[in-house]
Amino acid sequence: MNPRLSICLSLYRRLASAYPHEFRMLYGEDLDRLGEDAIPEVWRRYGLPGLLRLLADIAIQLPATYLTEIRQDIVYALRTLAKSPGFTAVAVLSLAIGIGMCSVVLSECQSIEGPPPGVRDPAKLATFVWSQVSYPYFEHYREQHQVLASATAFLGLVPFAVAFTWDKRAHAERFYGHLVSPEYFTTLGVTPAAGRFFALETERPGMAPVVVISDRFWRKHLGADPLAVGRALRLNGSMATIVGIGPKDFLGAWPGNPADLFVPVTCAGSLAPELSGDPLHAPDREIFRIVFRLAASVKMRTAEAALDAVTRNLDRENGIQHDRDRKGRVVRLMPAGTVMYITPEQSALVDTFDVVLWALVLALVCANLASLLLARSSRRRGEIAIRLSVGASRPRLVRQFLTESVMLSLAGGLAGIVLAYGMGRAISSMPVPSEIPFEYYFGPDLRVLAITLAIALAAGIGFGLTPALSSVHTEIGLILKEGAQTPLRGYRRFGLRNLFVVGQMAASLMLLLVTWYVVAGFLHTSRLDPGFETAHLNLISLDPVRDGYSAEATAALLTGLSDELSRVNGVRAVSLTDTVPFASMAAGRANTRMSAPSGDGKSGQVLHSAFRERIGAGYFAALGVPLLAGREFGRRDQQSDEPPGTKGASAIPAVLNQTAARELFGGEDPIGRSIREGELNYTVVGLTRDVPPGFLSAKTVATMFIPLTTPAFSENPAQRATILVRGTPGRDTLAAVRRQVASLHPDLTVFNVHTLREDIDRMNAFVEWDSAIYIILGLFALLLASIGLGGVTAYAVVRRRKEIGIRMALGASSRQVQGLVMREGTALVLVGSVLGLGGGLVLWRSLSAFSDVLARSFSTSASDSLFLFGAPLVLAGLAMLACYLPARRATEIDPVTALREE
């Protein structure tokens, strides 16, 4: 034979043998023979091109044939899935909820720890752990070129009253921004979309005021004006020129609190009252946050050591004392390339907790899917045997099973993605209880979604394949002869399915316990119960400085305002305050260190961390919190002539809360005692009840209240003031107050008007919503476990139809049969509960060891014995119900039918 022909023939045979089994069964031989006959004839007629055409034909038809088979598989799979809608619905639903939940939980971390948009190489960014520094310190830090590529200092968020016209009387809107050192944008690695950013050369004191705006601000408020660069904005009453527009999505170094305006720190104090008093040259004004960009190949630890040394040197030179941590460090670094700054410890905690939850849910979903698929595959042994005996190939059958599980996993996965997006949207649209803007975009993280989907898919394929493989290797004859059932087999104590049930029970109980502990503790500690009437307590914010008032005018205004407002009809009490009660995110609260000198002149008890709040006259009366002892501040305390901080001034009156009094003086009467805070002396004049400090903090914090004096207004003009107005029920006090303010001070912008109740409700809603996610997670686990258990029991009943039939034929009563089925279910439930309870406790311990917050919330709910015993009981009850239903069905088996089936 012509060698070309023989090569062609062998290629042809090889390709023909690659055709799918079923095709080969029918046409394999014919196809081979046709090739043998046709090849010499084709060669004679067309030569080499003919042979190539022949090979091309068989090669092209090969994948097409496979595709046809796969299409058939899919159609068949859809038909079989549609035929058992219960199974399909349960499997798809559990996958969907599992995938959706997992993505939501893990994406929650990602939305906090992810990189901020628009920032280059965020992994190289670092910042000090929750400490702010003074500008002169920063100027030393930025010289550390051996460890730092660059550094920037910024102040923010700071509010700006922005007007878009030259008209001085135009209504201004409040926007937030950063006051930044010139290196801000270069350090973050951001390039302008238009115009320029700041540079050391251009930003010098005394320059004309300039501002960089965010892309978002440009689009929303300047109508994406192409000529925006060069336009002027009125910021806090002064004109500033827009010199640049930030890139898309860039919202500052800390997009968790997005900034829209960026003003160089070199601008005049009139533009930004925060900068009055020349903080750029005051080593004790520690108000700047710093972001470092580490030099290439420098580790954070190295940089931390270098910066620590610099800080200690500076402290020595300036005579400033900073607390050291356990390692003797004055400063510590943490990554800054994240949406919200989070210390490595916090991030480890969040990650571990969420990953544990994620793993548990995923394990549950997989176990459920596995037991469903296993049970189903055994029910289909008969179908498999028939298909095998009429000539289906084993690989084809395996492929069929695979197609079904892949379709199932995909359907579940798609539904899960939809769910994840839906939940993400719902969570993102939650109002966050914070006055400053707080952006919390909570989209499902694509990576998380992909991993979860992949695992679900793998589980589906794995568990779909195992039974398929095992069932196609059985003796066809045996199965067919035995009917749809395998030979009578006893109860297998350690069968795969039983292990699944036990595992599922245990995992869901663990999940339930942990989520419940978290939620119960969370709700317990963070639900705010202020302990006084809040519905008619109105809060009104004013920021006269940004409305163009001078420091003196501001002081005069705020001094007189209380009197003016108390005359308004319906107002029962008015007080000024620096901080809003319960708003832990408010800026006015200073964290400080104070001591109670003992009688012999030595410093006695020291309180390392305490709040100092400035409040006006009649604050506690307006709030409705009675004083336990002493008096509260009156008008006289507010009108101290000496600015606070003057050395040698007479002692300032102070009111302590119970915690502060206890920690400083033990059980002794605090009234009349003195307190030192740095150079300042205070005399305790009053003692007030502990009020929860705010959102998400369980412990009341030692707090010292000092009078909000007239000089304090001028000392710190950046601070806005909040007026507490207690109104009369049934009267619109607020409107009257607003009218009064508008008529007396038409140029004053009143903002953030609400009642304290609204504030608290918003916080509580947020807490409850977050808890709800975990509760749903726990309930879902419960549901999954019950479904799994019910499925397995039902399956066991189906498999034992014959046995049950024989028993009943021999005279077993239906109660006995029911008992038989239930006993086995009960044993599984018991083992699972014990394991789950143990696992839950271990998990709880290890999570407690990780974090105080969790430990506290756990210990609160651990006392909740109702739950400790209630959860397993509820779960066991549900599980028993899941056992009972199929058990009852078992008693409905007609022995004659069951036996005739064989």
Partner: protein, 116 residues
Amino acid sequence: MSRDPQDFLPLHNNWFHILLSLVGADQHGYGIMQEVLERTNGTVRLWPATLYGSLKRLIADGLIEESDERPVAELDDARRRYYRLTRLGRTVLDLECERLQAMVRMMQRKRKQEAY
């Protein structure tokens, strides 16, 4: 449930030739291939994989079926499968022929109009 013969129109070229070669006599795959080749003077060749792919579809759609009747002993190749037209297949073929004839008539009418 048999499908409406109209569903198959217009008939795929390969299918038309296969059905046509089965008119009158049962054939095996190689026979079909040869007959089509001869009938079309070598212009239409059904390559093996295409041919069997089409046969499979035709059987699945019920246009042809495997034939149990074998030709006379000396012509019979026992190892080969033989195929024959089903009633549906014959109907489809007839309908296709009518359709083609109608088209030819249409063409002729048009030509005549042009000639005037």
